[in-house]
Structure formats: structure tokens, C-alpha cells
């Protein structure tokens, strides 16, 4: 069942901050017919449509601030600690590795997985010399705001973050997810971000108005010198008057539960590329009428349930969460002391945390037997069917995840190329993306997780120029590589045909770049990593070999879920246990901006570190399985027959003896 919707309503004196305690407590969403507020908390009031002389006036005013508008009633600060916003804050557990941001530069053939979370195989932006502001500008198209976009303090002398004084902070854009009209314009928001109109972007994306000046914030920031006073005449928003009523209230059609399409803007992941998209079935749960947020739920803290087994150990009840709950509890019970409220808050939050188990595949469909709550033990939330798994020995549940059989595309001999929103800018218009559009990500590849269970993964092989020093490869930012001026420039007449510059580099093109990068030996040896290999110069000749730094970054995939009838094993054991089963004997060819045959190629068993002899012998043994069944069933029938025969004879002897005894007794009488 959908949990009760808690909508907060407030009427506040101007200038106060923090969420108010007026609530509707109804499942019916509160009608958000509310005033807009700017970054200073002032209600945005449009000038009259006509001035005193009767001339039409433009509806110019400051852009609205979500922190001030939405944050009047909702716990903006607590929300800002949620998964979507907390990566750069560095105070959240990283959890299971997830999809990274991938810094992609086709000109230098760079694709580097980035993450603030420190997942193994990713780089932190600072490792590449990227400031938070650089990071924001590269990925603003799909960043929801908060985190790195809202530094607690801005140093006006810092040439990078100081720009935020002009461009405005990147506040959490609540409407990105919670707009329920489907009219949020990601394209205009992205365009606004591209020209650093950061604080104007949410207003523009929401369709409330347009940027009201010829010079964008980037141009203004470029002409501003760090340390100087910030200009006060920053551009306004030209508001759409039809969105405002006479009292300057705006109707926001918002939903607590984000729509599937809102999630898809950032979380689309599709292996059916281009025109083949019409074959995509999407996730079975979505097709059955569910929403992403039915499983990926969250409270006001926006710590959205990621939904994997064992997530509980990656989550915790933090002091922030207790503080927020204490506040709510003490609103409810004024006599509650601080310590008692803390204790109660801790208990409540731990119980709620336990419910997280029910939102994984296993927890929902099978229940968690060791859980405290009855509903958690039982599973079956939202009517999730209890799977029977006829004919599947239970060892499979110990050695494989649910997703291994049910998620992603049905495995084939070669993993498929997949495009994702974050990596390929899906959701924004651009030339058609193809199989070679960087970054090349493949799925499904079956690997073992930390719990030693086999699960399907997505893989991306890092590709970058770097310097090797003391056995460590340090990536170079694309701008620095471009300065070598040795990389082949794409002919301008080829750009229209190949907009993503997908032509692979040849050895002859790699060598001169490495020679230039290796000029200053004190900085280290110039190297190029691609498709699982490191390219380096040895005695003036280009050599390539496998290298740990070139290993793929992998992260588990969980969607799209296929129905049971299309799960791995639906055709029988041979789906996995045969001599050509992709799960063991599929080939994974490393992909990157080099010739396709140059990449490292490995069998699935090899990538997992399995023993090939075991895998192939076990697969071969399944040929004899029918014979095994016939022999053992036949033997069982014989043994059963003998037992029945002699058992009946024994019974007959007993009854015969009883009868004989009774006859003898009768004769004696």
C-alpha cells in the first residue's frame, strides 16, 4: 500500500526559514497553489501588466528559489542529504558501486568513470584537476542540484567556485522529479545550464518564464574578476503572466511519488538502440502498472532505497536523521524530553530501516525470515507473487542473485552495447547515437559480487591518456592531451556523418602522442589506456599489454526485469549448463577507441575467475543427465517393488499367524 502522503502546508511571516509544521496528512496530495520566492526569500510579485501610462510591462522578476519556495514547508536541508545530492558531501556511505559519471571527450578518445563516492575503479573529479564547478558544468544536464552545486561557503577570490556568486548556486531542482504534468522542459534547463544560467534554470525548466537578458551568466562571470564586488544588476526572468493568479500564487502540479518518466530522464538504460527501440519491452514491473518509486522509496531524508540485497548494511540511522525525527516527535508531543525523543527516534528509524529489506527482489517476493516485523518476514508487498521455482535446486539462490536470471537482456554469446542517460545524454536531443558512440558500455556480463554470488553487470573500459610513474597511472585531463596537437583532427566534412567521432585510433596515431607526453621524463612516462590494455613506448616502439589500470569499471544491473517466462533457465538447465552457454562460455571483448580486435578478449568464466575445466566438465555432464534420471528412477522402482512385495508378504504372514492362533484357540475350546 502506498504510505500516507505527508504534505506540509504553511503560512509564514516573511523572512522566516525552515519547514513549518502544518500538514494535511491525507493521501490526497495538497494543492500547491503557492507564492514563489526568490533566493532572498522575498515573495515574487509581478509588476502590473500595464504601467501608469497604460503601456504594457514585461513581467520581470528574480528567478524563483526552490530552497526558499519549496523549503518553506519541506525539509530542504534534510532532503539535501539524500542519495541524489550527497555524493560530493563525502559523509555518506558509498554503498554498492553504481553507475558512474563518465567524462567523455571524443576528440582525445577519453572516457573516464568519475564519482565522488570513491567506488573502486572510478576517479574523483579532483584526480583530474576538475573543481566542483567544472564537474557541475560538465554534468549539469543530468544533475538534480544540491551537493557540489550548493557549497556552504563561496570564496569570492576563487576563480572557479567564485563564479557561483554570479551564476547562482545549483539548488535542488525539486520539480525535475516531482512535476506531475510532464511539462518540465529538460532541454531548456540543460541549455540554461550550458551558459551557466544556473539559478535561472529551474524557473526556465519549469516553464514559468524565460531568461530576460541578452548576455548570459557565463558572459557576465567571464567579465567579472574574482575578488571584485558582485554585480547587483543580474538578469531577471521574464515570467509568463498566465502562470500567476491575481495574488501572485502559482499552481504547481506536483506529486510526492515521482513519475516513471521523471526517473527515466536520468535512469534510462536501453540496449535496443536507435530504430530497434520499438522492440524494447521495458521493465516487467513498470508494464504491470508499478512505478519506480514503489520499490525505490524514500522518506523526507530522500535516502532512496536502492533495492539490492544487503543494502541494510550500507545504510544507517544517522545523527541528522535522528535530529530531524526528534524535531517531528517533539512537535507532536511537547512534553517529550530531548533524550527520550532521541531514544524514540532511534527506535523508530531502526524499525523503518528494517523495512528496507522488503524492497529488494528477494525481500519483496520471498520475505526476510530473520526480520523482526511480520510483514517483512512474509514479503509479498503490493501483491508480489511468491515464486515457486519448480525444478530449480536451492543452491542457485545461494550462488546467484535474482537479477542473474531475471534482469537485463537475455544473455547471448556477446554482451550487447547499452546506452544510458548519464553516459549518453539520453533525454536531450542530439544526433542519433550508435554502437560506437562513446562511452561504450556493455551488458550483461556475469561476474561475482562481494557476496560471491553471480550477478549481471554493466562494464565500461576506461580510456585515457596518462602518465606512468612509480607504477601508478595518473590520467591527464583531455585539455592537456589536446595541447599536444598530435591527435588526428576529424575532417570537418566528416562531422555530419560521424558526429561522435567514433573512428578508432591506430597505432600510428597513438605513438606520436605518447612521444610528446614522454618528453619530460620527470613527469613520468606517457601512456594510453584503452580496451583493457596499456599502450606505451619501449625502445621507441609502441607496445600494448593488459594492465590493471585498464580493467573495466563494473556495476550491477537490475533492470529491465524480464517476466518469469523469459528468465534464464526457463528453457531448462541447458540455458546455463551447456557447452555453449553464454553464462560460462560467452566472449567479452573489451571495447574502446582502438581497433575492435585490439581489445582484451575473455570468456565469461575467465572474467569471473572460474575454472574452465570444472565449467566445461559440468556442462558436459548434463548430456548424461537423462540417463542418470532413467537409471535412478528405474532402480528406485525395483527397490520399491521389492519393499512392497516383501512388506506385503510380511503383513500376510502376520495376519496368517493371528488367524491360525485364533483357530487353534477355538479348537481347544
Amino acid at each position: 500500500m502506498i504510505t500516507g502522503v505527508t504534505i506540509v502546508v504553511g503560512f509564514w511571516p516573511a523572512g522566516t526559514r525552515g519547514a513549518e509544521n502544518l500538514k494535511t496528512e491525507s493521501r490526497m496530495p495538497f494543492l500547491h497553489h503557492i507564492p514563489l520566492r526568490d533566493a532572498e526569500g522575498q515573495v515574487i510579485t509581478l509588476p502590473p501588466a500595464f504601467d501608469e501610462q497604460g503601456k504594457p510591462q514585461e513581467a520581470r522578476a528574480n528567478p524563483f528559489s526552490t530552497a526558499e519556495t519549496c523549503g518553506r514547508c519541506h525539509e530542504y536541508e534534510a532532503i539535501g542529504r539524500g542519495w541524489h545530492f550527497n555524493a560530493a558531501k563525502g559523509n555518506a556511505k558509498p554503498g554498492r558501486p553504481g553507475e558512474p559519471w563518465i567524462l567523455t571527450d571524443p576528440a582525445t578518445r577519453t572516457q573516464i568513470p568519475l564519482s565522488y563516492r570513491g567506488w573502486a575503479g572510478t576517479f574523483k573529479p579532483a584526480d583530474l584537476g576538475m573543481s566542483d564547478f567544472d564537474f557541475l558544468m560538465v554534468f549539469a544536464r543530468h544533475l538534480p542540484g544540491g551537493g557540489a552545486g550548493e557549497p556552504p561557503q563561496i570564496d569570492p577570490k576563487d576563480p572557479k567556485t567564485g563564479r557561483l556568486l554570479i551564476t547562482g548556486k545549483m539548488e535542488i531542482d525539486c520539480l525535475l522529479c516531482h512535476d506531475s504534468t510532464g511539462h518540465y522542459n529538460h532541454e531548456t534547463r540543460s541549455k540554461a545550464m550550458n551558459v551557466q544560467n544556473i539559478k535561472w534554470a529551474p524557473t526556465i525548466g519549469a516553464g514559468l518564464g524565460t531568461f530576460g537578458a541578452a548576455r548570459n551568466a557565463k558572459a557576465l562571470a567571464d567579465s567579472w574578476r574574482p575578488g571584485r564586488p558582485v554585480p547587483t544588476n543580474l538578469p531577471a526572468i521574464k515570467y509568463d503572466r498566465t502562470k500567476f493568479d491575481a495574488d501572485n500564487n502559482v499552481l504547481f502540479q506536483v506529486a510526492r511519488r515521482a513519475s516513471v518518466n521523471a526517473c527515466y530522464y536520468c535512469h534510462t538504460s536501453d540496449g535496443q538502440l536507435g530504430d530497434a527501440r520499438w522492440h524494447s519491452d521495458q521493465d516487467f514491473h513498470i508494464r504491470a502498472g508499478m512505478s519506480c518509486v514503489d520499490c525505490h522509496r524514500n522518506g523526507v531524508d530522500h535516502m532512496i532505497v536502492r533495492g539490492y540485497e544487503g543494502e541494510l548494511k550500507d545504510r544507517s540511522v544517522t545523527a541528522d536523521m535522528i535530529e530531524l525525527r526528534v524535531k517531528l516527535l517533539r512537535r507532536d508531543n511537547a512534553t517529550l524530553g530531548e533524550e527520550a525523543a532521541k531514544q524514540m527516534a532511534g527506535q523508530q528509524l531502526n524499525v523503518e530501516l528494517g523495512m528496507v529489506e522488503t524492497l529488494s527482489c528477494r525481500g519483496c517476493h520471498l520475505g526476510a525470515t530473520d526480520a523482526k516485523q511480520a510483514t517483512t518476514q512474509l514479503g509479498g508487498r503490493l501483491g508480489a507473487p511468491h515464486p515457486v521455482h519448480k525444478g530449480l535446486p536451492p543452491i542457485h539462490f545461494e550462488r546467484m542473485t535474482c537479477t542473474a536470471c531475471h534482469s537485463g537482456p537475455f544473455p547471448s554469446q556477446k554482451p550487447q552495447i547499452v546506452h544510458t542517460s548519464l553516459a549518453h545524454k539520453l533525454g536531450l536531443p542530439g544526433p542519433a547515437r550508435g554502437e560506437n558512440t562513446a562511452p561504450v558500455i556493455v551488458q550483461p556480463v556475469f561476474l561475482r559480487g562481494d557476496d560471491d554470488r553471480i550477478a549481471p553487470y554493466k562494464l565500461v573500459w576506461p580510456s585515457y591518456w596518462g602518465r606512468l610513474k612509480d607504477g601508478k597511472v595518473t590520467p591527464l585531463p583531455p585539455e592537456e592531451v589536446a595541447k599536444t596537437d598530435k591527435l588526428p583532427a576529424q575532417p570537418s566534412d566528416d562531422v555530419a556523418r560521424d558526429p561522435y567521432n567514433t573512428k578508432p585510433l591506430t597505432d600510428g596515431q597513438i605513438q606520436p602522442v605518447l612521444e610528446t607526453l614522454s618528453t619530460d621524463k620527470s613527469k613520468g612516462e606517457g601512456v594510453f589506456l584503452a580496451a583493457g590494455k596499456i599502450y606505451r613506448l619501449e625502445g621507441g616502439k609502441l607496445k600494448s599489454e593488459e594492465h590493471a589500470a585498464a580493467k573495466p569499471y563494473v556495476w550491477p544491473l537490475a533492470h529491465d526485469v524480464r517476466p518469469a517466462s523469459q528468465s534464464l533457465g526457463a528453457r531448462g538447465c541447458a540455458d546455463c549448463h551447456s557447452s555453449d552457454a553464454p553464462l560460462y562460455f560467452g566472449t567479452v571483448l573489451a571495447r574502446g577507441p582502438v581497433d575492435a580486435q585490439s581489445g582484451v578478449s575473455k570468456a565469461a568464466w575467465e572474467l569471473r575467475g572460474d575454472d574452465k575445466r570444472v565449467a566445461s566438465t559440468f556442462a558436459a555432464s548434463f548430456v548424461f543427465r537423462p540417463i542418470l534420471k532413467y537409471v535412478t528412477f528405474g532402480s528406485a522402482i525395483i527397490v520399491l517393488g521389492v519393499l512392497l512385495n516383501y512388506g506385503l508378504l510380511g503383513l500376510s504372514a502376520i495376519t496368517g499367524k493371528c488367524r491360525s492362533d485364533s483357530n487353534s484357540a477355538a479348537r481347544e475350546k
Binding site: P393, V614, V639, L649, S652, T655
Partner: protein, 161 residues
């Protein structure tokens, strides 16, 4: 019942003492040898705390299974008559006879609980029950086999003077 009089098996004092022919002995040895492999792989893994079996151990276990079931079926056919209770002159003690019937019964459980999970008849709960049935009937079977072997060996010893 009119036929009951004919089927009642009374101790037949005039019959020659039933003995196990060479096929029966071969069957017993086949069953015993394969049971050693099965117990070593199955119970051994369980005792060492590494259950369930995987890889080579599992393959060795499954490979020995058909030989065990054939051996068990042949033992059932060749030993059953000589192990009937009430049969006079049998060289086997009552305890040995009882143990053989226990071996046959447990063997049947072991075989069925081993092969039924390979059919699409049982779901996870059923599979788990079969797994436990297999495990514990196999342990009982192994114990019965050891005791039966000891009983047979004791039967061969000359009576104490």
C-alpha cells in the same frame, strides 16, 4: 480372503538354507563402493562445513549415484529373499536382516530425494524438503551400511568355544 491361506509364508524347515549368489555379492560390493564415494563427497562435505557440494565434488557425487542405485536395486533383488524374517537356516542374524531392510528403505529415499529435484515437480520449498530428506536419509543409510557390514563380518566369525 480365499487366497490368503496359500500366500501365508510359514517358516519352511525343509528348505535349504538361503545363500547369496555371486551376483548378489557383486551387487553388494558395487553398492558399497559407490556408497563410500557418495558418503565421502556428500557427508564429508557436510561434516567439513562446506555444504552444499560444488564443482568436482558434486560431479564425483553425481557420477557415483547411478552405480549406487543399480547396486541397491540388485541387492534388493538378490538379498531380499534370504533376509525374510522367519526363514530358518539363514546365515544372517535378525539384526543383519533388519539392517538390510533399513538400507533398502533409506536407499529408496536417498535415490528419490536425489533425483526428484531434477524434475520440474517441486518448487523451492519442496526442493528444500527433498534436500534435507536426502541429507538425513543418506546419513542413516551410511550408518546402517556400516552396521550391516559389521554384522556380516561378525556372522563369519567362528562361534566362541
Amino acid at each position: 480372503m480365499t487366497t490368503s491361506e496359500q500366500t501365508v509364508q510359514k517358516p519352511i524347515k525343509g528348505d535349504p538354507p538361503p545363500s547369496i549368489d555371486s551376483l548378489g555379492k557383486l551387487a553388494y560390493r558395487l553398492m558399497l563402493a559407490s556408497a563410500v564415494v557418495l558418503a565421502g563427497t556428500g557427508i564429508g562435505t557436510f561434516v567439513l562445513g562446506q555444504a552444499p557440494m560444488t564443482h568436482w565434488v558434486l560431479m564425483a557425487h553425481v557420477s557415483a549415484a547411478p552405480f549406487f542405485s543399480i547396486g541397491l536395486a540388485l541387492v534388493a533383488l538378490t538379498w531380499a529373499d534370504s533376509c525374510r524374517f522367519g526363514r530358518s537356516g539363514s546365515p544372517q542374524s535378525g539384526r543383519a536382516k533388519a539392517l538390510l531392510w533399513l538400507i533398502l528403505a533409506c536407499g529408496l529415499f536417498v535415490i528419490l530425494s536425489g533425483v526428484l529435484p531434477m524434475t520440474p515437480l517441486f518448487g523451492t520449498t519442496g526442493q528444500h524438503v527433498l534436500y534435507l530428506t536426502h541429507r538425513y536419509s543418506a546419513i542413516t543409510l551410511a550408518a546402517a551400511l556400516v552396521l550391516h557390514l559389521l554384522s556380516l563380518r561378525r556372522g563369519r566369525l567362528p562361534p566362541a568355544s
